[in-house]
């Protein structure tokens, strides 16, 4: 019983890490620009397709990952610079519609360029699973956890130790205040959108070996990531990480004992959390004092 729980938790953590990566992108963009980015999942899907074809061209896996992150950053940066910035001053609903539209464009592009036939995307590492005490984990799960941990650490260093990161946090608090100080808010928006698209790209590559690569494969993951973001509190990056990991673990345990609840569990959970903690587990009500 205990060993089973331990195994379910360990595997749940690697699923949760994927949710966390995407949820972080959602929260970063939401906090700094107040836009709910619905294109995140499908951007990840599109980048995963690009990665698939790079691998087919015999590009080494580490390089594929780096290129995928760069593609994501490029898509995100261009989206901010040429779509979001033009509409921001005029209409907030317009911004939401653009992200929805982008989600559809990515899906349509993927279907028309790459087709809808499900493809097999290889894991980064193959081979027999690894035994750590009573826990049995696939090599892919281990690499997912390690890569995610490295990225979480890196992002925290960026957000708390670099000027661009602290600047992004200041915009999340008070955009006007940041503009008055002369902080280059537009560059920071581009940076955040670049991050917001690069993260799901990586998440897509990490998670796709569990499914098959087709234009819809990120949709359920994106919904889970939204759940994780709300669960953790929409205005907290820490919350997004913890929310994603907790959701991954709880979902895995519930699905094992009550398979019928697997798909609906995350939504039930979010309703319960919001009833008890309306701002999520880590969310804060904004506070100001003059």
């Amino acid at each position: 019983m205990f060993d089973t729980l331990l195994n379910l938790t360990a595997r749940g953590l690697s699923t949760g890490a994927i949710y966390s990566l995407i949820a972080m992108g959602i929260v970063l963009i939401f906090q700094t620009t107040s836009v709910m980015n619905f294109a995140q999942g499908n951007a990840g899907m599109f980048i995963t397709y690009l990665a698939f074809f790079l691998l087919a061209l015999k590009v080494p896996f580490p390089l594929v990952i780096i290129l995928a992150l760069l593609f994501g950053a490029l898509f995100g940066g261009l989206t901010e610079r040429f779509l979001m910035r033009r509409v921001r001053e005029r209409s907030h609903v317009g911004l939401l519609m653009i992200t929805l539209g982008l989600a559809l464009i990515f899906e349509g592009l993927a279907a028309s360029i790459f087709g809808t036939f499900p493809l097999n995307f290889p894991p980064i590492l193959t081979g027999p699973p690894v035994h750590v005490g009573p826990i049995i984990l696939s090599k892919q799960d281990i690499i997912v956890n390690l890569l995610s941990l490295a990225l979480f650490t890196l992002l925290f260093l960026v957000l708390y130790k670099t000027k661009i990161g602290i600047g992004a946090r200041s915009i999340a608090e008070d955009e006007y205040g940041a503009r008055v100080l002369g902080i280059p808010v537009f560059n920071i928006y581009i940076f955040i959108w670049a991050l917001g698209f690069a993260l799901p790209g990586l998440a897509g590559i990490l998670v796709v070996p569990r499914f098959s690569l087709e234009p819809h494969f990120m949709v359920p993951i994106q919904i889970k990531a939204f759940t994780a973001a709300v669960f953790g509190g929409m205005n907290s990056v820490q919350g997004a990480i913890v929310g994603g990991l907790l959701l991954g673990v709880l979902e895995n345990i519930v699905a094992f004992y009550y398979p019928i609840l697997k798909e609906s569990f995350s939504l039930i959970l979010v309703v319960i959390v919001l009833l008890i903690f309306p701002t999520g587990l880590f969310g804060k009500r904004s506070q100001r004092r003059f």
Partner: protein, 233 residues
């Protein structure tokens, strides 16, 4: 140093200031007085690039500022300390100061932060506290300290005494005099006309977006209209 010619600006189709001309010379403290809605804040926002001017020119040491974005204006040495202080409550005191030196190199930034702490030692003690936990007076000190970090040539100050206890107002004004002695030029916007006239060299009076009076501060203090309208005598 700062030269404003026939400046009009405002918010969208609403023009808030109409054809204002004023100058600030190096080393001066110049005050802009006026009641609520006179266009004082709009004037400062236009100089610092937060809103676009619709007519006229603003130049600083020979550079035309008309179409520059705030980051470029900050890089020229014009620092705006806004009304309501606008410190970041969730960021630490140190982080607030770091952002004020966005364009400085690491060494220079550390030195400037040290300098700011030497003027406001209290902030050093509060370094790791988040800005939102400071009292109103401490927040104003932080806002002032932030203004000093980038080594400004011209400080634009919007209502530094607003909402502060009289003792703190005096402290803030003493600091302004100290800054002036250090060669910093200040354009000060105030409703507290008495304090502003005491500390400044020259002053302008704005009324509903128009420049209605200008002169030396001493001269304006004895002006009957100013006395009646702004000094409550």
């Amino acid at each position: 140093m700062l030269k404003i010619e026939k400046l009009s600006s405002g918010y969208g189709p609403l023009e808030a200031i109409h054809g204002i001309s004023l100058t600030v010379e190096k080393g001066e403290i110049v005050a802009v007085l006026g009641s609520n809605g006179a266009g004082k804040t709009t004037l400062l926002k236009t100089i610092s690039g937060l809103i676009r001017l619709t007519k006229g020119h603003v130049s600083f040491e020979g550079t035309i500022l008309n179409n520059l974005e705030p980051p470029n204006i900050v890089k020229l040495g014009i620092i705006h300390i806004p009304e309501g202080r606008r410190i970041f409550p969730g960021l630490t005191v140190r982080e607030n100061l770091t952002l004020a030196g966005y364009y400085l190199k690491k060494n220079e930034l550390d030195n400037r932060i040290k300098f700011a702490y030497s003027i406001f030692p209290l902030l050093k003690e509060r370094e790791k506290q988040s800005g939102g936990t400071l009292s109103g007076g401490e927040q104003q000190m932080l806002a002032l300290a932030r203004g000093l970090i980038p080594n400004p040539k011209l400080l634009l100050m919007d209502e530094p005494s607003l909402g502060l206890a009289p003792k703190l107002v005096s402290l803030i004004y003493q600091t302004l005099e100290k800054l002036k002695k250090n060669g910093i030029t200040i354009l000060l916007v105030e409703q507290n006309a008495k304090k502003a006239l005491e500390v400044s060299d020259r002053a302008y009076v704005l009324t509903t977006g128009y420049l209605t009076l200008e002169g030396t501060s001493r001269g304006l203090m004895s002006n009957e209209n100013v006395k009646k309208l702004y000094l409550g005598r």
